[in-house]
Amino acid sequence: MNNKGGSKIIAMYWFVILMIVAGGIFVMVSSFYNHPYDIREIEGEIMINNIANCLSYEGKLNSELFDEEGFSQEFSENFLENCHLNFEVEESLNEEVQYYFEIDFYKSENLEISTFNIFKGNLNLVAGYEIQEEKEYEREVKGVEDSFFSLDEKGEELYLIKILTIIKKTEKNVK
């Protein structure tokens, strides 16, 4: 019996198998690397560090934080400009602000009640942060909290400063 034609058919089929395997590898790699990394926690920590550097230097609070009557409202209102913070994001994201931060100052006599408060950014992100523990909403926003102690300019009063930063940017960090 003449089976010479059989080897030619099998040779073609070999290339078909190769293409199937190559396609499978392509699908695996693209499905894995198409998912972005979520860097919002690191971004939040960097924001906290920048805010802390603006508020406190060499163990003492920034003198511009205070005026004759106590904490300066003017410094609070112009906080972004004073501390060189920029909330602008790339155009592909929605027009709404993607960041929020809140700073609370506590006097050493009472570390439970905030003496002064500064907040800037999108207030709506706070609600997302409060329900972050639910699995359904854990990727919506990412919040980072940290705190430190600092003395006032004269070194007489000790303050606890708590900083909370919340970042949305869900489209860029989650798929």
């Binding site: 059989g6 058919i9 099998i10 089929y13 198998i17 199937i20 395997v21 499978g24 699908v27 695996m28 790699v29 499905s31 894995f32 690397y33 198409n34 998912h35 972005p36 990394y37 979520d38 860097i39 926690e41 690191i42 920590e45 906290i48 560090n49 802390a52 550097n53 406190s56 060499e58 163990g59 003492k60 050493s108 570390l111 990727r139 940290d146 705190s147 430190f148 102690f149 600092s150 003395l151 070194g155 000790l158 606890l160 989650v174």
Partner: protein
């Protein structure tokens, strides 16, 4: 001679049959690997500072450093407040 050929009832599996089984096996393995890679990709790839290999003997939190500096300038009573708060929040 012809009788021998007619009585020969041994079946022979062609080479094509071998390739069909091999194709099915390859497809099953591919489906398993694609499913596994999709499942792994669905888990959010979060980058945390703790996951990075940092030499913690050299790298200290900035905010902890600020607290340490304030502690060094603080009075005795203020230091006690800082120590107490750190113990409660460890």
């Amino acid at each position: 001679m012809l009788n021998k050929i007619q009585k020969n009832n041994k079946a022979q599996i062609s080479e094509i049959m071998t390739w069909i089984i091999a194709t099915i096996a390859i497809l099953i393995i591919l489906i398993i690997f694609i499913s596994a890679s999709s499942f792994l990709a669905q888990k959010t790839k979060t980058v945390q500072a703790q996951n990075l290999e940092i030499d913690f003997e050299k790298e200290i939190s900035l905010l902890d450093t600020k607290t340490l500096i304030a502690y060094s300038f603080a009075s005795e009573s203020q230091r006690n407040i800082i120590e107490k708060w750190e113990q409660e929040n460890e």
